[in-house]
């Protein structure tokens, strides 16, 4: 094995009380493509941000070329040859390719004026190295997402990056662009650049990487050579955790169909999705991020338009024009993004709980019955066991678990017949998690159709009666919750 260009030892990191990385070791060899994989929330992004100088580790050491380093900002990491290509691109659309590539490092004369000829020449060279023949003066706004990604890579190369971190680089690319990217990765590797490749897609991981490291729950599970392993082993490493939490018993019997969706399509995000939801059951939506689960939920809820497809509720075809429309028909959606789309953070618990059912507390003239609001809010505070058991605190001051409970209470209060919950236990401690699960089961038992979207396979398999597996905007399988393994689901989700 060649010498390590990057050596990480014992890195730990906490955000508040939440420990996201536990004692991570990782070595990257010169000129290797090293895949870093793991479920959502496994800690990949945090680890990469530490390597890239955006976060500082609580403990542990980083060595670059045998030299111990401590980065205080991204510039320091770049100076040592480490460049991050972000998932959210960091380009300025109204500047040219060249200006973006060499931002803050343009070749200038002694007065600080940019030497355009040299700037363009160097940018052109970089882009040619990536196999793209393009005028460096082209505005980034005019480029496709794929080319923009290449501009980001060119930016990294312009800093003589020795280590290039690509964070899910293919997620927004067309097939052809993906091939170009693979070729570039191979070229860079040949030129001695080390690449850390973060991905969800196992086939591509096997296609391009030399070694694979798997993170799970903030711990390094292991590093294996790509040629010595196979998909099954990697999946096992990713999901290996046993189902330790207790899940409520499954539905004993389910009723008639509440909601059926037929041929739901939109662009290349959703293609011809069909499924049925029965009264009293919990249906799981499994799949990777971006596989179309949230998009489906939002489309049903009337939050986003669709190109085609029919939605039938209680045997009647419906088409919701807005969220209000859906709520009035008893279809509710608990968003995955509780801070930006779900809660009113600067308002108190009471206000949040009644926010989706204000009209219920209004007289015919629209006058609000504040006592009714107070009583109802207090009831739900008790019902979901909010801590503190008070409807007055501002939601922003609650813990993640309690925020999630407040969000659940908000939708319980709206009295749904169909409730779609998106990542209902993300960033929630084990205790609150179990409580949320039992609320969802209770709701189903009371005759409500529940859809659970989750990236946690144990949760999906433990909680749901049936599981629809999403892959690139399609449902590739509908499995029984009972007796299905995480490996089965993963296979359909990544095939």
């Amino acid at each position: 094995m060649v010498a390590s260009v990057l050596k990480i030892k014992g890195i730990s990191k906490s955000f508040g009380v939440h420990k996201v990385l536990h004692d991570i070791d990782l070595e990257i060899a010169k000129g290797e493509v090293h895949a870093l994989i793991g479920e959502n929330g496994a800690g990949k992004s945090t680890l990469m941000k530490i390597i890239g100088g955006i976060h500082r580790p609580d403990t542990g050491s980083i060595e670059v070329d045998g030299e111990s380093v401590a980065f205080s900002n991204p510039q320091a990491a770049m100076a040592k040859g480490i460049s991050l290509v972000h998932q959210e691109l960091s380009l300025v659309p109204n500047l040219s390719i060249a200006q973006n590539v060499f931002s803050q490092r343009e070749p200038t004369n002694w007065l600080g004026f940019v030497k355009w000829d040299e700037l363009h020449k160097r940018t052109r060279e970089l882009m040619e190295r990536l196999g793209v023949d393009i005028d460096p003066a082209t505005m980034v706004a005019e480029l496709s997402v794929g080319i923009r990604q290449l501009v980001e890579i060119a930016k990294a190369l312009s800093m003589d990056a020795k280590i290039l971190v690509l964070d899910e680089p293919t997620s927004a690319l067309s097939e052809k662009e993906v091939e170009t990217l693979y070729r570039i990765v191979d070229d860079l590797k040949a030129a001695g650049v080390s690449i850390i490749f973060i991905s969800h897609k196992l086939p591509e991981v096997f296609r391009i990487s030399d070694r694979i490291s798997v993170l799970r729950d903030g711990r390094m599970i292991g590093t294996v050579k790509a040629e010595d392993t196979d998909t099954d082993e990697i999946i096992h490493m990713m999901v290996g955790r046993s189902i330790e939490e207790m899940y409520p018993p499954r539905a004993s019997s389910v009723g008639e169909t509440v909601l059926s969706v037929e041929g739901l399509s939109r662009g290349d995000e959703l293609s011809d999705l069909s499924f049925e939801l029965k009264k009293g059951e919990i249906l799981g939506f499994a799949g990777l991020v971006g596989s179309g689960r949230t998009e489906t939920a939002r489309a049903i809820f009337g939050a986003d338009p669709v190109d085609a497809g029919t939605i039938t509720l209680h045997g009647r075809t419906v088409k919701f024009k807005s969220a209000l429309d859906a709520i009035n028909h008893g279809v509710c959606y608990l968003t995955e993004d509780r801070k930006d789309l779900g809660l009113f953070l600067t308002k108190n618990v009471r206000t949040n709980i009644v926010s989706s059912s204000l009209k219920k507390f209004a007289s015919q003239l629209g006058l609000l019955q504040h006592s009714g609001i107070e009583d109802t809010a207090k009831y739900y505070v008790q019902h979901v066991k909010l801590r503190p058991a008070d409807d007055k605190p501002l939601v922003m001051n609650l813990s993640g678990g309690n925020q999630q409970k407040a969000l659940l209470a908000k939708w319980l209060c709206a009295d749904p017949q169909v409730l779609i919950v998106d990542e209902p236990t993300r960033g929630v401690d084990v205790g609150a998690k179990t409580e949320i699960h039992s609320h969802l089961r209770q709701l189903a038992n009371s005759g409500v159709g529940v859809i659970v979207i989750s990236s946690e396979l144990p949760e999906i398999l433990g909680l749901c009666d049936r599981v629809a597996v999403f892959n690139e905007g399609r449902i590739t399988a509908v499995l029984d919750g009972e007796g299905t393994t995480q490996e089965d689901v993963m296979k359909y989700a990544t095939m």
Partner: protein, 326 residues
């Protein structure tokens, strides 16, 4: 026992911590100081003149508070006041019946507000720039219509609206008080209007909670326009003329008063009663300047300073709660 004690304590603290109470105490303090400094302050006639003088600002500021609460801004209120006043007086001079002329003025205010709201809600153009444009257009239009002249010779019946008195108190004062009470009540208790708190706090979450964000944005701007027009009617009637420059700078005083009264520049908070107290505070301070014989020119400085302090306090309050401007 212990629980109920702490509960009482916390509700006392909650009451004292309310913006309105603090503001009220400041007003009492300012009044006390002024009455020590000048004997003319504590005087019924002086109070009536303060109340009359501030009534236009209160009416305008009610609308502005609504717009701030919904998370927007309306810089055009002063110009809408001017233009609707001009149009109403022109109609009156052309012989249009008083109720019709007033109705036309109010409708014009509603229309201009609806234009603002539509640009903002439907075409999603920055509210600041929309209302800045409207501010210029409306002010320009009133200057064009009047050619810069005063429009006097208004019918006596019309003048009675602003100059008439019941029990020695001018009608605009009654109107202002009624409007404050109605809007304060509606904003807190009427579901459609109350929903603007949700919109101002988190418009995306509000939309997904089934609140009609676009519709309520437009309604808020319409109310702002109508209230500015109402202030225009009272002002032209009280001063017995229409003039293109009426309401100049009203938007700044209204913003200052709203923010002093508890509205937040980042939306989701606002109290009509608080705004009323905010205008009252500004009016008492200005009155103090006059009574103490200080140069009226200081008023601009003090108004600007109060705006900075109010906005600064708002910013610090947000920062302390850990919110970010962005």
């Amino acid at each position: 026992m212990a629980i109920s004690k702490s509960a009482t304590k916390s509700s006392v603290r909650e009451f004292v911590g309310r913006r309105e109470v603090g503001l009220f105490l400041i007003i009492v303090a300012a009044s006390a100081i002024l009455s020590l400094l000048t004997p003319q302050f504590l005087n019924l006639n002086n109070f009536i003149s303060i109340a009359t003088g501030m009534s236009y600002d209160v009416i305008v500021a009610i609308g502005l508070t609504l717009v701030l609460t919904v998370g927007g801004i309306d810089l055009s209120v002063g110009s809408i006041l001017g233009l609707t006043g001009v149009v109403t007086t022109m109609l009156l001079r052309a012989g249009v019946a008083i109720p019709l002329a007033v109705l036309a003025g109010l409708s014009l205010g509603a229309l201009l507000g609806a234009l603002n709201g539509t640009f903002i809600a439907k075409f999603k153009i920055n509210p600041f720039i929309v209302t800045l444009g409207m501010m210029a257009v409306a002010r320009g239009a009133s200057v064009v219509l009047t050619s810069g002249y005063f429009l006097s010779n208004l019918p006596a019946g019309y003048l009675a609206i602003g100059q008439g008195k019941w029990f020695g108190i001018p009608i605009p004062i009654y109107a202002t008080i009624i409007l404050v009470i109605i809007f304060d009540y509606l904003l807190r208790n009427w579901e459609p209007l109350h929903s603007i708190f949700f919109i101002g706090t988190n418009p995306d979450a509000a939309e997904l909670s089934g609140i009609k964000v676009g519709k309520m944005l437009i309604v808020s701007y319409i109310l702002s326009g109508v209230l500015a027009a109402a202030a225009g009617v009272f002002m032209t009637s009280r001063l017995a003329m229409g003039y293109a420059q009426f309401g100049l700078g009203a938007e700044q005083r209204a913003i200052a008063a709203s923010v002093i009264g508890g509205a937040s520049m980042s939306g989701g908070e606002g109290s009509i009663f608080g705004t009323f107290l905010g205008v009252l505070l500004l009016a008492i301070i200005n009155n103090g300047f006059v009574l103490l014989g200080l140069s009226v020119y200081w008023q601009g400085v003090v108004n600007g300073l109060i705006l900075v302090i109010a906005v600064g306090v708002d910013a610090i309050r947000r920062m302390r709660r850990g919110e970010d401007r962005d």
